[in-house]
């Protein structure tokens, strides 16, 4: 059966949350709550109560980026110092650890920042083409709930959305 996509726009965040809770409870054919997408003009961490906890993996990128940045800097600087014997050291260590720590520290941060951004783009699915069911109202003041389900589920979706005072419901055939 072909899949349908629906985007419902709400004025009130609480109504949108109530609609999600009801969708979660209703046993709708071809609908999975994990496929539901909430679109909002601001961040609503409280929505996790109804959508469930979803993992964020950006921190792993941060850890890897920071460690790699620090290690890379230290080994680059140390190998440059250790390979250039004509630089007069006057009996001082060829690879002096305390001053090298400064550059290691700077590159630890730089690596962490760069790879965090990369992780953000990967984890958030950016850059992306905007979905056809996007409303500019979402970036203004309305909450959007995007769902997909079987054709037979469309009527149930609409009933639930209308019950929770959806301002507008957009519909599109799935790919």
């Amino acid at each position: 059966m072909s899949q349908r996509h629906l985007l419902a726009l709400f004025n009130d965040f609480d109504e949108a949350v109530a609609a999600i809770a009801e969708l979660r409870g209703a046993n709708i054919k071809g609908f999975d709550i994990d496929d539901l997408i909430l679109k909002s003009p601001i961040e609503h961490p409280e929505v996790e109560k109804v959508l469930g906890d979803k993992p964020v993996n950006v921190q792993w990128f941060t850890l890897i980026g920071a460690c790699m940045g620090g290690l890379l800097a230290f080994f680059l600087v140390a190998s440059a110092q250790a390979n250039f014997f004509s630089q007069i050291k006057g009996g001082k260590p060829i690879v002096p650890l305390p001053p090298d720590f400064v550059l290691t520290y700077e590159m630890f941060i730089l690596g962490g920042v760069f790879i965090t951004i990369l992780g953000f783009l990967i984890c958030a699915g950016l850059p992306a083409k905007r979905s056809p069911l996007y409303s500019a109202k979402v970036s203004e003041d309305q909450i959007g709930i995007l769902v997909q389900g079987d054709e037979s589920a469309v009527a149930i979706f609409k009933t639930i959305f209308t019950k929770h005072k959806a301002l507008e419901i957009q519909e599109e055939a799935g790919k």
């Binding site: 679109k39 921190q59 941060t62 550059l103 962490g112 992780g119």
Partner: protein, 454 residues
């Protein structure tokens, strides 16, 4: 104290007000832009003259190898720190009053770093040899000394600049999506479409955005401190009288935050007027900003006294002589002006009546930065004028007009970059102001009824 922002302000209105700033600023905007371009013209003329004639025209000599260029370089590096203070530190502390004003403070960070970078090039003189400073293995016999604070500087500033640009950009993505959705044609539409990366405000995007922003904020705080500590190390690790002071790194960091906060006050007043942001850049927010500036001014004053005391009670007679020379010699007027503008004038900020008086604050904030610029000059020139060896003393050196012209023009360069940014990108964070309004209206709704409310 009144409210930082009205809780009943409509979200659509926030979009409308901020987007309007991208299109129709007051006429003053164009006046400022014109003045900035004229100032850049002066600097470009001076730089061309210096470039074609030689560094001699800057009137630097063997004692005074560093002069206004390096003083101004430190000034601009310092100026960048308050963007980080407002956006990162106050973000971690959940101080939501920062939300309407942090975006332009972040932009200020980026552009002041870009201005500071120019001074390194100007100071080098022989611009065609600029690649010599890049620390990569080469056969030129000019090997980068990785133990030198000057090389650390290059790494630290490059890290700070790239991280600040990314922090500014990432924080702006949701707002760029708003611009994309509301501007209907032309190059701006294309720019916002590309830069917003297809942001739709989905729960997945917000979830990852929140962690990313927080993580970069956590990185930026130690980075900002390290950058100015390293700049302080350029001085403190040398053996020049007056520079070899343990408290230099915190002193530099405090001075950086101080001048940055003062600059934020100046820009706050300008943007509030030019872009009609009276609803967002409110007087209660200004009051908090002024109090923060006052607190940092007192920290700076304390560290200044610590620096003088360490020299005075220390055993380095040359450093002590040099301090006396600063306070009584040819630099005395500038030294005492620095003390007045940096430590005495900010006492005004403790008085409630001045904390929201915009014309007075505008003048005071500029004078505070004059004081902070003098501070950097007073660190550099008197030390070179009165060093360890009497035969190197040169008390009468005065920077040439070429130096003054380039320093003057740098303010135009910064202003131009900053004002163009504010016209092309939203200088008030729309989504964060909405968050502020949302949370405050929720708090108001859930506020327990008190006696007498019936």
């Amino acid at each position: 104290m009144g409210k930082d922002i009205r809780e009943d302000i409509a979200w659509a209105q926030i979009n409308k007000d901020v987007l309007k700033s991208l299109e129709s600023p007051r006429r003053m905007y164009w006046v400022i832009l014109f003045i900035a371009i004229a100032m850049i013209g002066v600097a470009v003329g001076c730089e061309i003259y210096q470039y074609t004639t030689g560094m001699g025209v800057a009137n630097k000599n063997n004692s005074h190898v560093w002069s206004l260029y390096i003083a101004t370089f430190i000034f601009w590096i310092g100026m960048s720190h308050s963007g980080t203070l407002l956006s990162a530190i106050l973000h971690l502390m959940h101080a939501d009053w920062r939300k309407p004003i942090y975006r332009f403070a972040e932009a200020m960070t980026t552009f002041s770093l870009m201005t500071a970078g120019l001074f390194v090039l100007v100071h080098l003189g022989r611009l065609w040899m600029v690649y010599y400073v890049m620390p990569y293995p080469n056969e030129r016999w000019v090997w980068p000394n990785f133990q030198s604070p000057l090389v650390w500087d290059m790494f630290a500033i490059a890290t700070y600049l790239s991280s600040s640009v990314l922090f500014l950009y990432v924080g702006m993505i949701p707002d760029l999506a708003i611009c994309r959705d509301n501007i209907h044609a032309g190059w701006r539409k294309k720019l916002y479409t590309v830069m917003s990366l297809g942001w739709e405000g989905t729960d997945r995007q917000w979830r990852n955005f929140r962690i990313t922003y927080l993580t970069i904020a956590c990185f930026l705080i130690p980075l900002a401190v390290s950058v100015h500590s390293i700049v302080a190390s350029d001085f403190a690790m040398s053996n020049m009288p007056g520079w070899h002071v343990t408290s230099f790194p915190p002193y530099f960091v405090a001075g950086a935050l101080y001048s940055g906060c003062a600059a934020i006050i100046t820009l706050f007043i300008i943007l509030r007027y030019v872009f009609k942001f009276e609803e967002y850049m409110t007087l209660p927010i200004m009051k908090k900003l002024v109090r923060l500036t006052f607190a940092i001014a007192m920290v700076w004053t304390y560290l200044n006294l610590i620096e003088f005391a360490s020299v005075w009670y220390g055993h380095d007679q040359t450093a002590k002589d040099q301090l006396i020379f600063k306070a009584t010699g040819p630099y005395a007027p500038y030294f005492w002006a620095m003390i007045f503008f940096g430590s005495i004038l900010p006492l005004m900020l403790a008085f409630k009546r001045f904390q929201t008086h915009l014309p007075i604050l505008f003048v005071v904030s500029i004078l505070l930065n004059v004081g902070m610029w003098l501070e950097r000059w007073m660190i550099i020139s008197p030390s070179f004028a009165h060093g360890h060896y009497p035969w190197t003393w040169d008390h009468d050196q005065w920077p040439s007009l070429v130096q003054w012209g380039i320093v003057f023009g740098s303010f135009g360069w910064f202003t131009l970059l900053f004002m163009v940014f504010c016209k092309v990108f939203p200088s008030v964070s729309m989504y964060e102001v909405k968050e502020m309004v949302y949370h405050r209206s929720l708090a108001l709704k859930h506020k327990p009824a008190v006696k007498g409310d019936y």
